[in-house]
């Protein structure tokens, strides 16, 4: 068992790293459009990410074998290649969305040219990953992401209607005017769940555990960090929904840009509220951009058998290091084509849900495999929840594209 301080820091890091641009867009807008009635999806998604992160952390701790290595030995080269291309495309898209979001935040805070700011973000991210150790990256971005707690305080200050929130914990059809609103509700269910259960999160978590040198003694610490850190992190996401429902909805504002959410914090706490909110978003998006770029490099290196990891020097793992740099560069170039970052967020979230079954099935099979995991294989709880969630994400994956088309990308 690791020391108390390490577990405590791990919990805070997991909490601060929970939210990224997808939740910022979808949680706030879910609150605006459907008030508290999608709260159950936050709970559903959070339990889902807990179930699969626990498995992926446990697999890494017990076997020291990375996920894409397992995928390749079990599924073979062909199926593995398809999974790799799908996973890395979504990671690239998510990284693009985060970089676009970062440039928008800087523009909101300091003004200036969006394209120049995107270039500045690119340089900053490259320098951060190059010069900082893996542990420093994890801690800095995770802990400073906790500035987002301002949204929890703002949500409480704005006086949420608790009764309505409580009834939102139970799945029910909302009171809406037209059939198209039902489709929109369905779209938000899928998108919100996807934003919480993004595939890169478990890939990154699994590889991160190897970067941190975990072994089987870390299994309980892993469980504690996830079981406490993720629900706390999801409170940030829930707070964003509350802010959408109690601040933006009454004013008929539908925040399009992710930075707009900061206005709610500003309304409650003035200038400092705004600064805290922007700082929180900055580190949340920055952390997620880094995690996606590294995930792309982890996946590719593990699939092809290259030397990988921040724990190796760039000279010892040059292909791995060049791959994450390329992820950043290509993502920034996509941003600089002038594509709307919010649209990139929507597409990345929807395509992510389409490949979710592809992501979670190998993890579920590996964690249940006795040859592989020995006595640490899935117990009845992990097995039951694992397959239940696998069924849920399969349904979400099938529904995602039709819902995207019917609702015209969530515009109703």
């Amino acid at each position: 068992m690791k020391s108390f301080l390490e577990i405590f820091l791990g919990i805070l890091t997991a909490m601060g790293g929970f939210v990224e641009i997808g939740e910022l867009v979808f949680s706030v807008n879910a609150g605006v459009k459907f008030r508290y009635s999608l709260l159950w999806v936050e709970v559903l998604g959070t339990i889902g990410i807990i179930v699969f992160s626990e498995m992926s952390g446990r697999i890494s701790a017990v076997t020291q074998q990375p996920v894409f290595s397992y995928i390749r030995t079990r599924a073979g080269y062909g199926a593995g290649l398809m999974t790799l291309l799908a996973a890395n495309s979504v990671s690239l898209l998510t990284c693009t969305a985060e970089i676009g979001g970062l440039a928008l935040l800087l523009k909101l805070a300091f003004g200036g040219n969006y394209f120049l700011l995107a270039a500045l973000v690119l340089i900053g991210l490259l320098a951060a990953v190059w010069f900082l150790s893996f542990q420093a990256i994890e801690r800095i971005f995770g802990l400073l992401g906790l500035f987002l707690l301002i949204f929890v305080i703002a949500a409480l200050n704005l006086g949420p209607s608790w009764g309505e929130a409580a009834s939102g914990l139970i799945p029910s059809l909302p009171k809406v005017e037209t059939t198209s609103d039902y489709w929109l509700y369905g779209y938000f269910v899928v998108a919100l769940m996807s934003s919480i259960m993004l595939p890169y999160e478990v890939y990154f978590y699994a590889s991160g555990a190897i970067e941190d040198g975990w072994n089987a003694t870390m299994i309980n610490a892993n469980r504690m960090i996830i079981l406490v850190g993720f629900p706390l992190g999801s409170l940030l996401s829930v707070a964003l929904m509350f802010v959408g429902a109690s601040y933006f909805q009454p004013q008929m504002i539908e925040p399009q840009l992710p930075g707009t959410a900061a206005l709610a914090a500003a309304a409650v706490f003035g200038k400092w509220g705004l600064i805290y909110a922007i700082a929180g978003m900055f580190f949340a998006f920055g952390g997620a951009a880094i995690e996606n770029a590294l995930t792309g490099a982890y996946n590719l290196s593990q699939f092809l058998g290259w030397n990988w990891g921040k724990y190796r020097t760039p000279k010892d793992a040059p292909r791995f290091h060049v791959t994450w740099m390329l992820m950043f560069v290509v993502a920034a170039l996509i941003v600089m084509t002038g594509v709307d970052p919010v649209e990139v967020v929507e597409y990345s979230i929807i395509f992510a849900v389409v490949i979710l079954p592809l992501t979670y099935l190998p993890i579920l099979l590996a964690a249940a495999d006795e040859d592989y995991m020995g006595t640490f294989k899935n117990g009845w709880l992990a097995k039951t929840l694992g397959w239940l969630y696998f069924a849920i994400i399969c349904i979400a994956a099938l529904a995602a594209i039709p819902l995207l088309i019917i609702t015209h990308g969530g515009k109703g």
């Binding site: 076997t63 074998q65 290595s69 390749r72 030995t73 073979g76 080269y77 062909g78 593995g80 290649l81 190059w130 010069f131 150790s133 092809l304 058998g305 290259w306 030397n307 990988w308 921040k310 724990y311 190796r312 020097t313 760039p314 000279k315 010892d316 793992a317 040059p318 292909r319 290091h321 060049v322």
Partner: protein, 117 residues
């Protein structure tokens, strides 16, 4: 085909290969089997050219466009241990499989701090 041979394929194919210093050398992308006098593993092949050979046409083209078509043959006598990873008795450099060459190395080695973790 004996069961022993099938077992070897399951335990060999697509596994991680490491050299004697535990430097990663790639995956077992294919296996060369000598059928004379009973099936026997003669060599392992490392490189995307070998792995992509097992794919249907379009996927093969895609894989080779992305990751190249190189093939390196390692004689079976050079394989030291077969477990979760396949360990070689030799150094990655002897087979040209070390990563301290090529364009990726040229890029990172020019940057400041490339020896730092």
């Amino acid at each position: 085909m004996s069961e022993h041979h099938l077992d070897l394929v399951r335990q060999l194919l697509d596994r991680q290969v490491v050299d004697k210093n535990h430097v990663y050398c790639g995956k077992v992308d294919d296996i060369v089997i000598d059928l004379k006098g009973g099936p026997k593993v003669k060599a392992i092949l490392i490189g995307n050219g070998a792995a992509s050979d097992r794919l249907p046409e379009f996927a093969r083209w895609l894989s080779r466009t992305l990751f190249g078509r190189g093939i390196t043959k390692i004689p079976w006598s050079d394989v030291l241990v077969v477990s979760d990873v396949i360990k070689l008795a030799s150094d990655a450099k002897e087979h040209g499989l070390d990563e301290r060459r090529g364009w990726a190395y040229d890029i990172v080695s020019k940057l400041p701090g490339a020896w730092k973790k």
